[in-house]
């Protein structure tokens, strides 16, 4: 993975930059000590490490604005960071860049139940929002696995999902407004407590922009009334095909479960060995189907799903009869990543989405690749929306294994695109999938995306080296290659 070449001129000005930042954020808010900077050298994608040139931890919007304006005026690169849980290297620092840590923006500003929303600072954790509104029976719907640690600012940057997003949507469907700062220091408000945009939907554009367009300083999220009830089914199948067919049949029957997760045999074995959730070990695939909503609806739908599963050859089936049992069903799935971590020194988590109908084929080809690369793979799968999380098992201490794992992962993602899917369903492109972007988008597609970037950050100072495989200068992207007298199709009528 190559990052942009560090700018020697900027590195030479390090002390001067640190001093300027200290004038903006006094006290201990600017970190220049090498040992302290090491704390920021990596995010959730630990395969890549790079300490930043400096780190700055602002506390006010005005400070953020002045930091960005300084960096803009002095051509210094900036990498924003929330809790650092990105699985795609979205917060990987740059050797010649300033790391902008937003952790001190950790206050909940307003709980507005009448308007069913909460206004929070970006450093508040995802779960922190749900906890703050729980007393009134509300919650914030997107629930990424890292929700205890990940921040809402990071969720906005990555458009995070979670196991319930087929029914309740991703971050983008649950955020009403943002306050953000552009690289030139301009503070903007996008949206608010009202629905939809009055002009271009730049709120929608910001969400999932991976820290390349601006720095979020305040988030207004939609909060929902917690469903009255939730029940889950644990269903074992003798083949991936029958499990996949069952998922398709549930949806074709008009049922959108709150959560629908699938695990393959290696993932089931690892999870069961770790948490003893009571998973059947004699099945090829395991489905957890959760129905939530009004009690009458849960009870009704659980019977319908049971019928569909039986008709599709389920070899084992249990319906939760208590909240404890429902949580036990989930315990294995939620612990799948650490469970795999127990059976392998390292693992690499992928995140492609495929049309669900292609699942058996994709799993079969993944098994072939597993043999070819000599690396084991376990699969957990958000089955409802086709989002695959293959976990590639490797040992970083074995020379060449990391590279083999990365090559295996890249092949899996190319396969996802080949069958009509996409490179990333919820983890983001970051540095991890940056160089795979051409598998999905051609140069013109990427150029249009970068023109959006140019409108926000014309000098490419915000989080460079992420998302786009090649950096183009905005002036170059702005050029049009159409000239009078050189038009295609000269038979067209002239205006």
């Amino acid at each position: 993975m190559r990052m942009p070449e560090p700018d020697a001129g900027v590195l030479a000005r390090r002390a001067e930059i640190a001093a300027a930042l200290r004038r903006i954020v006094p006290g201990e808010g600017v970190i220049a000590d090498a040992d302290e900077l090491r704390a920021y050298e990596s995010d959730g994608l630990t395969a890549y490490r790079q300490a930043p040139m400096l780190a700055v931890l602002p506390e006010t919007v005005d400070q953020v604005s002045r930091i960005l304006r300084y960096c803009h005026d002095h051509r210094v690169k900036i990498v924003p960071r929330g809790a650092g849980t990105s699985l795609s290297g979205g917060a990987l620092p740059l050797a010649d860049g300033v790391l902008l840590g937003m952790g001190k923006f950790n206050r909940i500003l307003e709980l507005d139940f009448a308007n069913r929303c909460a206004v929070v600072q970006p450093g508040v954790t995802n779960l922190g929002i749900s906890n703050a509104v729980a007393h009134a029976g509300f919650y914030y719907a997107p629930d990424p696995s890292s929700q205890i640690a990940c921040t809402i600012g990071g969720n906005v940057a990555e458009n995070s999902g979670g196991v319930h997003c087929l029914k309740y949507g991703l971050t983008t469907n649950n955020v009403l407004g943002l306050e953000m700062v552009l690289i030139d220091g301009t503070v903007l408000r996008l949206g608010g407590k009202a629905l939809d945009a009055g002009g271009y939907d730049l709120l929608g554009v910001m969400i999932g922009s991976e820290g390349l367009l601006g720095v979020v300083t305040e988030v207004t999220v939609r909060i929902l009334r917690r469903p009255a009830a939730a029940r889950a089914l644990l269903i074992g199948f003798p083949s991936n095909e029958s499990a996949g067919d069952c998922v398709a049949a549930i949806i074709a029957a008009g049922i959108i479960p709150g959560g629908m997760e699938m695990m393959d045999k290696p993932a089931i074995a690892a999870a069961e060995a770790f948490v003893k959730a009571g998973y059947p070990l004699d099945v090829e695939a395991l489905l957890i189907v959760e129905l939530d909503g009004p009690q009458a609806e849960c009870d009704h739908l659980i019977e319908r799903v049971r019928e569909i599963a039986t008709a599709h050859g389920a070899s084992s089936l249990r319906a939760s009869r208590s909240e404890e049992e429902r949580l036990a069903f989930w315990a294995g799935r939620k612990a799948a990543f650490p469970a795999v971590g127990r059976i392998s020194p390292d693992y690499y988590c992928m995140d492609g989405t495929i049309p669900r109908a292609r699942l058996p084929e994709v799993l079969a080809r993944m098994r072939e690749m597993s043999v070819r690369y000599g690396l084991r793979v376990a699969n957990v799968f958000h089955a409802g929306d086709g989002n695959l999380h293959p976990l590639i098992l490797y040992d970083a201490n074995e020379p060449g294994e990391l590279e083999r794992a990365e090559a295996f992962g890249a092949d899996i993602l190319r396969l996802c695109v080949e069958v009509g899917g996409v490179l990333t369903g919820e983890h983001g492109v970051g540095v991890e999938k940056r160089d795979l972007m051409p598998a999905m988008f051609d140069e013109t597609d990427l150029a249009h995306q970068q023109r959006l970037k140019c409108a926000f950050d014309p000098d490419g100072l915000l989080n460079p080296g992420k998302v786009f495989p090649q950096l183009h200068r905005c002036a170059e992207l702005g050029r049009m290659h159409i000239h009078r007298g050189a038009l295609p199709h000269p038979e067209l009528p002239r205006f």
């Binding site: 903007l188 608010g192 629905l195 049309p355 996409v422 972007m437 995306q449 067209l492």
Partner: protein, 423 residues
């Protein structure tokens, strides 16, 4: 290219009718090369929406029609951009599916023409490009939330794509959001992919008769804070309720709050009963069943009560729901304003008579930046004179202009449709 365009009219009006993406690209590229603006038209049902355009050249997408791929169990449908919405909704209906954002049909509202039923006379690309959503918006999301991917030709005359054909995708910037609500000012959509969802098995609508606006919003807020998954929450004052084609609503002779419940039959019946009980203090009692519910919510989506008096300037105001009573008090005081509330109070339709600016000043003063007001129906002169779309703050206006310049540097796509052209 022979036959790919028609000479329409005698005053040099040109109507381009591209037959495929290559022709579409060439026409836009030629327009950009010669700095000739184009009015982008799907079926033309929303030409009266936005600032009026007086352009000699139009680009008509009608040949981009047809469903390209539809996999009901994948919840995904791909169609050419000018596919009639009615055709698309019919295909979904055969599989008990729908566009959950409940696209409104404003044909009758905008020009008095019969919209020909649900989705009649408009295209899927048009509804997405304008990001128009119906009563289910606050629960199921807007058009933009169901827009998964597209192919398009930007104002640069280049074919590009974004998004994907699966329901979950974060690869690259979410340009679908940028296209949704851009009114054809950034790119011409040629193909779109949307998320589709199962149609609810059963629908009931709980009615509360007689409340004033403040009490109505209180009832809707209580309903939406309950765990009953209300999927429609509207309020009609007496004068508007009387115009409903649903006799139960019209015959009440008074104002009405309507709360919709959808889902499997046992669930809907249980929730309707629970909701009536919890809202007893507001006087909840009557219920509309399936057919009447369908008619009623179609009227709300289409703002049908406002179709009969086309002279009033009609505004669609998105606001924090709890602000609705205060906004209505302020806007209606001493003025001739008809209104209805949708989205539990989060959407106010205001029909203003007798104000020189159509009520723009009063409405935007009352909103004070806490929401946005769009002028949906007014004579062309008024739509030129006042801001049709909420005027953005200066920093946002500058950013908006830079985004427009990135995708359409010569301003050839619907210039002036949203904001007065620059320079």
């Amino acid at each position: 290219m022979q036959g790919a365009f028609d000479e329409a009219g005698e005053r040099g009006l040109t109507e381009f009718l591209p037959g495929d993406e290559g022709e579409l690209r060439d026409i836009v590229a030629a327009a950009a090369g010669e700095r000739q603006p184009l009015e982008v038209i799907g079926a033309g049902s929303k030409r009266a929406l936005g600032r009026p355009l007086q352009l000699p050249h139009s680009l008509v997408l009608s040949r981009f029609s047809g469903i390209v791929a539809y996999e009901p169990s994948e919840l995904v449908l791909t169609a050419k951009a000018a596919t009639p919405l009615a055709l698309l909704e019919a295909a979904l209906g055969e599989n008990n599916q729908m566009l959950a954002f409940e696209p409104p049909a404003w044909g009758r509202l905008l020009d008095g023409a019969d919209s020909g039923g649900a989705g009649g006379g408009q295209t899927v690309g048009g509804i997405l490009a304008c990001n128009l959503s119906g009563p289910r918006r606050f629960k199921a999301g807007a058009a933009r939330d169901h827009f998964l991917g597209f192919r398009a030709v930007s104002g640069r005359g280049e074919v590009f794509k974004a998004g994907g054909k699966v329901v979950k995708n974060v690869t690259g910037y979410d340009l679908c959001k940028l296209m949704a609500g851009s009114y054809g000012t950034l790119a011409v959509l040629s193909e779109v992919t949307v998320k589709v969802l199962p149609r609810p098995e059963k629908t009931r609508t709980v009615l509360i008769f007689g409340p004033d606006a403040e009490r109505a919003v209180a009832a809707m807020t209580a309903a939406l804070a309950a765990p009953h998954e209300v999927s429609g929450a509207a309020y009609l004052p007496a004068g508007l309720a009387r115009r409903s084609a649903v006799s139960y609503v019209a015959a009440g002779g008074t104002s009405v709050v309507a709360l919709r419940l959808e889902g499997p039959a046992p669930s809907v019946l249980a929730r309707a009963s629970a909701l009536r009980g919890e809202l007893a203090e507001f006087g909840a009692g009557e219920e509309l069943h399936g057919r009447n519910s369908a008619v009623f919510w179609r009227e709300i989506a289409d703002a049908a009560p406002f179709a009969i008096d086309g002279k009033r300037a009609l505004w669609r105001v998105s606001l924090p729901p709890a602000l609705a009573p205060a906004l209505l008090r302020q806007v209606t005081a001493g003025s001739d304003v008809e209104y209805l509330l949708d989205w539990g109070g989060g959407l106010a339709w205001l029909a203003v008579a007798g104000a020189a600016d159509g009520g723009a000043g009063a409405i935007r003063a009352a909103l004070a930046g806490r929401g946005h007001a769009t002028l949906i129906r007014a004579p062309a002169a008024l739509r030129l004179a006042v801001a049709v779309f909420e005027p953005p703050a200066p920093g946002l206006a500058a950013l908006t202009a830079r985004v427009k310049a990135g995708f359409d540097p010569y301003g050839v796509l619907n210039p002036g449709r949203m904001y007065p052209p620059q320079g």
